[in-house]
């Protein structure tokens, strides 16, 4: 006899709102740590000054409770819901969207979602939807992750359906090419999220999860960990540097995630995160 845990969706609404505001005022500690380390590693004087200003921006935003960037992004919410949870008090998805609205209002964040992508007649404004990924996992807990994905870097992300013969070299070429093409526009130094395998949409979702993985967590598989390090080295040899003003630090980390794929394919998605890769999480 499994007991069922009841959770009111109001808790989801409140938590989404709180995490959305926090993610926009406080850059994650691992990202700030990597930027501070980058100041020491950068050889270009202009690059170093740029990094110092970025660090200062995050310190001021946190102290004065200001959005770190005017682009508070499109909100992406991951919910890993224990299968023994029963939701009460309304619709779970509605509660997430209501939480995004509430957080945007409370945090003085920008209403950035266009109501309709083809007609663009008006801003969605307070309808402000987000992207919601709900997964069912064992247990009676809920893991929530809220990311505020800025579109400077999102716009420069890319997906390609490689052939199995392209192999690891093909993956590496595509990742480096994507960062080179993005140049200054994705707001470097970047977090590079790479999703390899699965299907077309599976690789893209995997790349999103990869870009949201903490920068101080390396892939547990030694060969992939080595590939992450190799790609970071190649990207930082591109010369793009902080904000594309030239230098050594073009990326802070390369995070790779893999999934089994079809014998005929090798999907690779590269989701770029700007230096302001924002996320916050909570357990319900």
């Amino acid at each position: 006899m499994v007991s069922v845990r009841e959770i009111d969706v109001a808790l989801v609404r409140e938590t989404v709102a709180r995490l959305l505001v926090e993610s926009n005022y406080n850059i994650p500690g691992d990202v700030l740590g990597a930027l501070r380390a980058a100041v020491a590693a950068e050889e270009s004087p202009l690059g170093r000054r740029t990094l110092e200003q970025l660090v200062r921006n995050y310190e001021v935003a946190a102290a004065e409770r200001l959005p770190v960037c005017q682009d508070s992004g499109m909100t992406v919410v991951f919910l890993d819901v224990g299968q023994d949870v029963h939701w009460v008090g309304g619709s779970l998805r509605e509660a997430v969207v209501e939480g995004i609205r509430e957080g945007t209002r409370q945090g003085y964040l920008r209403w950035s979602i266009a109501g309709d992508p083809t007609r663009r007649l008006r801003m969605a404004g307070e309808e402000s939807p987000g992207i919601v990924h709900i997964d069912i996992v064992p247990g009676d807990r809920v893991q929530m992750k809220v990311a505020s994905k800025g579109f400077g870097a999102e716009n420069m992300s890319a997906l390609r359906m490689l052939a199995p013969a392209d192999g690891v070299n093909g993956i590496a070429e595509f990742v480096v090419h994507t960062v080179d093409r993005a140049g200054a526009n994705a707001c470097p130094p970047l977090v590079v999220g790479v999703g390899v395998g699965g299907t077309f949409e599976g690789a893209a979702l995997l790349a999103k999860k990869a870009v949201l993985r903490p920068l101080d967590e390396r892939h547990p598989r030694p060969d992939l960990q080595a590939l992450e390090a190799e790609l970071l080295g190649r990207i930082n040899a591109l010369g793009i540097g902080p904000q594309g003003l030239g230098g050594r630090v073009t990326a802070l980390a390369v995070n790779i995630e893999v999934l089994p794929t079809h014998i005929a394919g090798l999907p690779v998605a590269v989701n770029l995160g700007c230096h302001s890769t924002r996320r916050a999480e909570a357990e319900l």
Partner: protein, 185 residues
């Protein structure tokens, strides 16, 4: 040390002409804001020969969509947005008399050439510096298109606003030369 460019009494031609790609500058003076939606409206009006809500002659524009001001603030976070997205509108805006654009990111090809052809300058500010840059803005008001929300046409007053000259009047492109200098691959 950053050079100062002050156009409170009009954009000085000598000041614009003396700027070189790679120069660090501090900008002081009024700007009109630019975003995807407002740029589309302005370009449509110019191409259709309709009057603009405000003249662009001799103006400097800043590509930004600010976040809302908190109580007591002049403006919310207000860093630059990606200029390349506005590339197709740039020749029209520069032909209408815009002297410089402040944005972020790279410009190549026709977008960059439009600056050289009209003797204008492209400045990049640091992307993702929105909280700090908001402190270099001393006044903000909506002058047109209020229905566009953060994409409305604002007039802002900049005070020692930091930026880098990316495309100068001679057509030099700092993003291209900086990358070539540091590339090791």
């Amino acid at each position: 040390m950053a050079m100062s460019l002050d156009w409170r009494l009009g954009v000085p031609e000598s000041g614009i002409a003396g700027l070189h790609a790679g120069d660090a500058v501090e900008l002081t003076g009024p700007v009109l804001t630019l975003r995807d939606a407002s740029a589309a409206r302005i370009a449509h009006a110019l191409e259709a020969g309709e009057p603009l809500p405000v003249s662009l002659e001799g103006r400097i524009m800043y590509a930004v969509g600010p976040s809302p001001a908190k109580p007591g603030q002049i403006i919310g976070s207000a860093g630059p947005t990606t200029t390349a997205r506005l590339s197709r509108y740039l020749p029209t805006l520069l032909s209408a008399g815009v002297r410089a654009i402040i944005g972020k990111g790279e410009l190549h090809g026709p977008g960059a050439a439009a600056f050289t052809e009209s003797g204008a300058v492209y400045f990049a500010a640091i992307g993702g510096l929105g909280a700090l840059l908001s402190k270099q803005i001393t006044a903000a008001s909506v002058v047109a298109y209020p229905d566009l929300g953060p994409e409305a046409l604002f007039e802002l007053h900049l005070d020692a606003f930091p930026a880098i000259v990316i495309v100068d009047r001679a057509g030099h492109n700092f993003h291209e030369s900086a990358r070539a200098r540091w590339r090791r691959i």
